[in-house]
């Protein structure tokens, strides 16, 4: 980084004044050191190559910095899970062999069946855990399945 000379002189004092996390720089060096150590010594378990993040360019990735619900959602998505039902529900035939699987965090959930496409009258009913139930109007099969929330 040969061109950083004048930049360092002019802006660094200003930025340090504004920067409330000087330990960030320290953390970056420590992370880089530990990453190098991990990469060189730990050959048994593969270490993901660091192409971005605090150790490389100085801007954290979500992997490094995400927290709270955002982190839970991210980790679940990496495993292929969708605990907060963000994605479109899966499609089923609705037959006895392939019933609509309805995830629920309790023992029952309300189902609204739009029997045929563009129907304006939605058929509502409680779906209880246990054997599959059928829509009182079109007869499609629905089965309650337990849904695990992360905690």
């Amino acid at each position: 980084m040969a061109d950083e000379g004048w930049w360092r002189v002019v802006f660094r004092p200003l930025i340090i004044h504004l920067c409330f996390r000087p330990e960030g720089e320290m953390a970056a060096r420590l992370l880089l050191r530990s990453a190098v150590r991990a990469a060189t010594t730990c050959r048994a378990a593969p270490v993901p190559a660091l192409t971005r993040g605090m150790a490389v360019g100085g801007i954290p990735t979500d992997e490094e910095q995400a927290t709270g619900l955002e982190k839970i959602v991210m980790k679940a998505a990496q495993q292929g899970a969708d605990p907060y039902s963000m994605l479109k529900p899966k499609e089923y035939a609705g037959s006895k062999a392939d019933p609509h699987l309805v995830p629920s965090i309790t023992t029952k959930r309300i189902v609204g069946c739009v029997c045929e496409e563009d129907n304006t009258a939605v058929v509502w009913f409680w779906l209880h855990q246990g054997d599959a139930q059928r829509c009182p109007s079109c007869g499609s099969h629905y089965k309650l399945v337990p849904h695990e929330l992360p905690h």
């Binding site: 930025i15 504004l18 801007i59 995400a66 963000m86």
Partner: protein, 261 residues
């Protein structure tokens, strides 16, 4: 520790909407009192309360998103919709002033001399400071895009440099425009020409100041490691707003400065 089965953010009770509404009341009544009774008390109180409301409300949003992780993908999507809708409303705000300008300039009345620019108005040369201002804002559009790409690529130093440059260009525009206002051979009181010129460019200048402030807040946040290479919506919102300000200027330049001269 999630007790909810959805990814949305049910916000904690907050006093800032109330203080904001009270600030709006103080600002409106304060303006009326200032006009009629020459007292600035209510207006000053309203401004202080407005600034406090904005600071604390947006500080709380940063706490909720960056520090507590409440800004999941669906929440971020909602914020994007919100910013787009807000900018759209601002587009309509400016459309009104452009309507006023074209209404008066396309069919100039006899009182103006039946011509545009009206008789007696010495217009600003569009190829002097206004052209420089155009170049300044276009350049700032480039630097803000550079900043965005720097953030996405994880380049902290470049992100800070380009964002700082963008803000400096914004200040330079404001400074140049201020000089133009001081040196202009006409005032806001000079008929409909003065009214349309200063109201349209004046509100634009206010938006430049707002946009520069938004970008400055983003710079402070970037320095303090708030943004990640994937999640930096606050910056994107500021960049969208800045591009909007730039586009409004281009329309102002072509319509009022160039065609209208």
């Amino acid at each position: 520790m999630a007790h909810q089965a959805h990814a949305y953010h049910m916000v904690d009770p907050s006093p800032w909407p109330l203080t904001g509404a009270i600030a709006a009341l103080l600002l409106t009544s304060g303006t009326a009192v200032w006009f009629h009774f020459h007292s600035l008390t209510l207006l000053t109180m309203g401004n202080i309360l407005l600034l406090l409301t904005m600071y604390q409300w947006w500080r709380d949003i940063i706490r909720e998103g960056t520090f507590q992780g409440h800004h999941t993908p669906p929440v971020q999507k909602g914020l994007r919709y919100g910013m787009i809708l807000f900018i759209t409303s601002e587009v309509f705000f400016f459309l009104g002033f452009f309507w006023a300008f074209y209404h008066s300039s396309l069919a100039p009345t006899p009182e103006l001399g039946g011509c545009w620019p009206p008789t007696g108005i010495i217009t600003l040369d569009p190829f002097e400071v206004p052209l420089l201002n155009t170049a300044v804002l276009l350049a700032s559009g480039v630097t803000v895009t550079w900043a965005h790409h720097s953030i996405m690529e994880g380049e902290r130093k470049q992100a800070i440099q380009s964002l700082t440059l963008t803000i400096l260009l914004g200040f330079y525009f404001t400074f140049l425009q201020g000089m133009e206002y001081y040196e202009a051979p006409f005032t806001i009181a000079d008929g409909v020409y003065g009214s349309t010129f200063f109201v349209a460019t004046g509100f634009h200048g206010l938006h430049v100041i707002i946009g520069s402030t938004f970008l400055a807040v983003c710079l402070l946040r970037q320095v303090q490691y708030h943004f990640t290479s994937e999640h930096h919506f606050g910056f994107e919102a500021a960049a969208w707003y800045w591009h909007f300000v730039d586009v409004v200027w281009l329309f102002l330049y072509v319509s009022i400065y160039w065609w209208g001269s």
